[in-house]
Every structure is written in structure tokens, then in C-alpha cells.
Assembly symmetry: none
DNA sequence: TCCTAAGCGAGACGGTACGTCTTGTCTTCCA
DNA sequence: TGGAAGACAAGACGTACCGTCTCGCTTAGGA
């Protein structure tokens, strides 16, 4: 059975462009980065860029999706210790620690909000699923969408802060801080809703 | 000594431009707004725009500063009930409620991050001053900059969420939610630092 | 009565561009000339070019129309001696002689065929009007459109040859050659049609 | 010794491309035709095109050379009646009549000037050879290069007119028109030079 | 009440980046 | 292993904004 073989240049070009974008973002930020900056650094023709990606957002997103796929691998590999929201946040801090460069470009303030918006949505969805049952029992409780939103955005705030300040705290320390800040409030709400 | 009298047209033009920018932001967002959009709506010449403002960021900021001055008036007027961090946050929710249109344009996701960055800095500064003494007593406590950052960014997250979702919760309710979410964690840290 | 005043920069820019185009055509030909070549030489911004002209054809045509207007002035000034087709052709040879540079760029093989097509149409129209009556008398004569076409295209061929070969023949000599070549055939046809 | 056999695919590919080019020229003209248009219509890869031809001019020229070779066959076959300049022109009108499609693409205004330039040169050369002796006798005569140029370009003008207007005149009629227009002037010059 | 400096609209201008298109070369894969 | 398919670098195209500028007109405020 003849497997359709792919031209290996294609993937190479995509990676050159993704790497070039990261480099440019770290230099001057996502907004200020121009397509010309990226293709110059990648040594790639203008039309080649547009053959692969619609625009620089699309390019960033493609890189993010790759990073996210790796994160999910990491998550599954460590699944034993990382269950529940606090396990998930720890995993993400750890993954960010091991891919600091990429995370700074995508989730730092230099990056656009594309990646952060994605993460926000993912976490909110996860939390809504996870807290649904407990919240359902409450009669006239705390608005669950606000709760989910807060847990997710607090995490993102801390993550961004960590990345942008080149903080030397470890992933585990950051997750501890996160839990100390957020968990008490959440627990209060879950008990008294 | 002759008092230098100011041409009243100047202030009028500035306001026309500020209002036009707000309107355009609410329609298509700050990023997508062009100077041409703004001056068309304000019926103002291009060079007039640049005579008053460096660019659209500058224009937004000028409007924000005006809004902020009004907030401080509001804050002082209600100072009796609004002391401490939770009083400050309540004042801001209330002010946002009374100026919903402007807040949506500046602090909603349609606005840039200029205003939010400003608020973030202001709150962090306020909190650092306010919590400094208590935190100073702790020996090896929780990092104060993270604590301040969290309290401020949680507030901003809720405010933005409130504005963007056209939520019908009152300012007082929103502040309650905010306290329920954030206060327990802060108290734990302050006691055990 | 207030005459609508025109911004003098506009005409200046148009002329800068027209002159730059002529220069570039003489260097590398109309087809090879790029908009970038022209605006670089004219020290004009790209968008300014497109504010004035649709494309380089439009620019050439605008210059040609100006040249043509001058030709008509020249024609009227010398109208006494230049009546009839052979007077018209003499006038054009003379005008070309006095504006050799422009004619080379527009009617030489370096120029596109825009100007030549225009001249061809103009001459054919003129000749059709002029020969109509005589030809109308013939019963089943020579096709008049072919006759007009021949007289016009022969003229254009000679003109182009003259320009491209930097020939030293005078305008009057060229017109003599033209008459010697074309007049006998025309006369035969007009008599025997 | 094995006779070098030519891969029949090669010739087939060349013909596919030539035919595709003709079709595209007739649709949108030579200038507007792109290599992509041609290879799409020929169902051929881009590199294949460039393996056979330098560019679209080269391709057109190759087709023209083939056509020209056929013309020469036609010329020799009818040589008895077609001697001298007026026999040559008749032959070409006849050949154009029998290959109207190809001639329209190459010698019509849709085709570039490549073919016409070639024909012009060929005719000028032929005429120079043919008229040389007679002109040599004259002392201070009419410039022979102008005479040759005129005879050739008048022919080309008529041919192009005929093709572009889908005229129903026969080749013989066209040649008659051509002779009526051009011969008298030439004869006058030859007698009095 | 007039005069004059300045605010202003209108918009031309030089630039820069965009996303598209075409060219001619060069690499990869397949028959 | 030679030729077809098509990925690629290069660069021109026409459009959209930007921030600067020049131009006359209106108009406010001091004389």
C-alpha cells in the first residue's frame, strides 16, 4: 500500500518559521514583530510564509498547539501525582519550567494573548467539569462561572508573573503559592454555598 | 499681569476625540481602531489629532486619566465606608457601575491593556504600602510581591469579566464575590507567614 | 468670486513621476520598468504614486496626453502650411524632432504600445473623415478602412524607425520619404477606386 | 553504433506546451499569460516547463520556428508562381489563411512582438538582398534601409489587421490590396532614385 | 469693532507592512 | 537513476495606516 510520502522540506520550513517567530517575540514582542522580521531571520521567502500560515497569529498558534501537545504528554506521564486542579496546575508550572523559552514567548506579556486565551478556556472547561457535581448540590450558591474563571485566571496571572520576572522560584514553589492563595477561598465557598 | 487665556476650542476638540475613540473601541476594539476611524467620527482633521495626542494610545490614556481623577473624587467622597483594600475594591466596582460605558471601553477586553496595566500598578502599589507592615513582621513568609500581585490581578480579572459579560450582579455583589474568593487565602498567609 | 485653489504640490508630484518614468523607460524600457524604479527616482512614496495613478500605464498615458496637447498647439500654430494628411504628418515629425526625448520614450520600441495605439486611432479617425467624401464617390472601390489603416501605420512605422535609429534625417526629409512611399499608391487608388 | 533515439515523451511534452500556450494567448494575450496558466493547461509540472524552455518567449519562439519551417515548405512547393517580393507576400498571406489560429496567436495583437520582429527581420533581409542591385545603381537615391523597412512593415501591418479583424477577404485579395498600396511608391522610387 | 495670532479641516506626502502573485531554481520522490 | 512534481527565495504588486507637512479658513480674544 503506497503511503503518500511528504516532502521533508515542508516541516523544516514550518519549524524554521516557528523558531524565528519565538526569537523575534522575545526581542521585540509579538505585536511589534513583523512578517518581514520573521522571514528574514528564518531565511525564508515571503510567499513561502504565506503558503504555510495565514498570518503571524496563525504561526504562533501552530507553535502553541505543538507545545500544548507536548504538555498533554507530560501530563499523562505524571498522571499519578497530578490529579485534580492542583495537580494540573503543578504539571503546567513544571512544563513551563522545562520549556521556559517557549512559555515566555507565548504566555509572557511579550506574547500576544492568543495562547493565554486558549489556556484560559481550557482550564475553565476543565474546572467546570470538575466542580460541577459539587456545585450542583448547593442550593443558592456562589456563581460557578465566576469561581471557575477566578481559579483559572489566578493561575494564569501567576504563571505570567513568574515568566516575566525571571523568578527563581521552582515550579513546585509556585504551585504552593498558588494553592495557598486560591485554595482557602475555594474551600470556603464549596462548604457554604 | 495678563492671565494667559486658553482657547476653549482646544478642550472641545480633545473631548470630541476622546468620545470618538470610546465609540470606535466599543464597535471594533482598540487594536482594530485606526486614527482615521477616530477623526472621521470626531469630524476633526488629521493634523489636529496629532496636534493634541501622540497616537491613539496617548488619546486613550488621556481619557483614562480623566476617568481616574473622577474615581479618586468618588473614592474620597465615600471614604468613610471604603477604607482598606476591600473598601477600595468596592469603590472601584461602584465607579465602574456608574461609568459602565467608559469602563467597558478601557477595561474590557475590547480596550487595550493600557488602562488595566495602569490599574494593576496602582493597586499593587497601594497594597504593598498597606500590607508592608504586617508582612514585615513575618520571618520567612510568603513573597509579598506575589501576594500584592495576586490581590490586584484577581480584582482586575473579576472586573473585566463583569464588564465583558454584561453581568447583572451589582457592584456590591461583585465585591462580595471578590472578598469570598481572595480574603481567606490572604488571611491564612498573613497569620502563618 | 473665489476660485477653487489647487494644492501646488499635486502638480509637482505628477510631473516628478512623469519625468522619472521617462528616464526609466529610456534606460530599461517600459515593460521592464517597475513602479519601485519610478518612485525611487522621483523620491516619492509608494502610496503617493497610487494616489495619482492607477499603474505605470496610467502614468505614461497621462504624460502622453500632455505631450499630445502640446502637439495640437503646435499643429494649430503652423496650420497654414500643414493642411491635409501630409501637413499633419509633417507637423508630427517636426514635433517629434523638438521633443525627441519624450517621443523616444513613448513612441520608440522602448515605450509600450499605449502611445502608438492612441496615435494610430487618432490618425485613422482623421483620415477616415478626410477621405470619406472622395471614397464615397467610388462604386466598388478599395476598402477605405484598409486605406486609412495603411496610411496611419506606415507613418507610425517610419516615425518609430526614425526615433529608434537616432537617424539624422530632418523632420522634413522624413516627411518627404513618407510621401514618396505612400502617396503614389494612395493616388492610384483614389483615381481608380 | 546505436542511433541516438529521442524519447518520444520529450517531443510530446513540447507540443503540449506549445498548444497550451497558443490557447492561453488566444484567451488572454501573450503578455497576460503566465507560465502557471500554460503548465496547468498542459498538465505539466513547473520544472518540466523550464527543462524544455527558458521562458514563455522561448516557448513561443519554438512554436513559431516550427510554423516558419512549414511556411518555407509551402513557399518552395509554390515557388513557380511566387517569385519576387509580391510572390513572397502572397505565399505568406496564403499560409496565414491556412493556419489562421496559429497566426492569430503569434502575429495578432494578442501575441507579443516576438514573431512579428522575426518576420520583419526576415523580410527586410530578403528585400535588401533583392533590391540591392537595383538600388546600387542609383547615385543619390532614396535610403534603401527605409525602403526595405517600409515594404516589410506595411506587409506586417496588413497581415496583423487582417488577422485581428477576422476579415473575410481572401489571401489573394489581401495581397492585391498590399500591392496596390505599396508597389506604386516603390516603383517611383526605383525609377527616379 | 477691528486685527491678528492660533486653532482648525482638509488632505498631500514619504514611509512601512501587508497579503498576493509570478518567476526561475532546486530538492525530493517515484517509476 | 532520470524526469515530473512542486517547494522554495526573490521581489513586484496594489492597499492600508502611520505620523509629518502644507495650505487656507475661521474665530476667539486683546487692542
Amino acid at each position: 500500500m503506497p503511503t503518500k510520502t511528504v516532502d521533508r522540506r515542508i516541516e523544516r520550513t514550518r519549524q524554521l518559521l516557528q523558531e524565528a517567530l519565538i526569537a523575534v517575540i522575545l526581542e521585540k514582542g509579538f505585536e511589534a514583530a513583523t512578517v518581514q522580521d520573521v522571514i528574514d531571520r528564518a531565511n525564508v521567502g515571503r510567499s513561502t510564509f504565506y503558503a504555510h500560515f495565514q498570518d503571524k497569529e496563525d504561526l504562533l498558534l501552530s507553535g502553541f498547539e505543538h507545545l500544548w501537545a507536548e504538555f498533554e504528554k507530560h501530563l499523562n506521564a505524571a498522571s499519578a501525582n497530578n490529579e485534580g486542579p492542583w495537580g494540573l496546575s503543578l504539571s503546567m508550572f513544571q512544563h513551563a519550567e522545562s520549556q521556559r523559552r517557549l512559555y515566555k514567548a507565548m504566555a509572557g506579556k511579550q506574547g500576544g494573548n492568543i495562547a493565554l486565551t486558549y489556556i484560559q478556556k481550557y482550564l475553565s472547561g476543565y474546572l467546570t467539569d470538575h466542580l460541577k457535581q459539587q456545585l450542583a448540590k448547593r442550593k443558592k450558591g456562589f456563581p460557578p462561572e465566576i469561581l471557575s474563571y477566578h481559579i483559572a485566571s489566578s493561575f494564569i496571572s501567576l504563571l505570567t508573573w513568574w515568566l516575566d520576572n525571571d523568578s527563581t522560584y521552582s515550579a513546585e514553589q509556585m504551585n504552593d503559592f498558588y494553592r495557598q492563595l486560591v485554595e482557602p477561598g475555594v474551600n470556603m465557598i464549596m462548604q457554604n454555598g
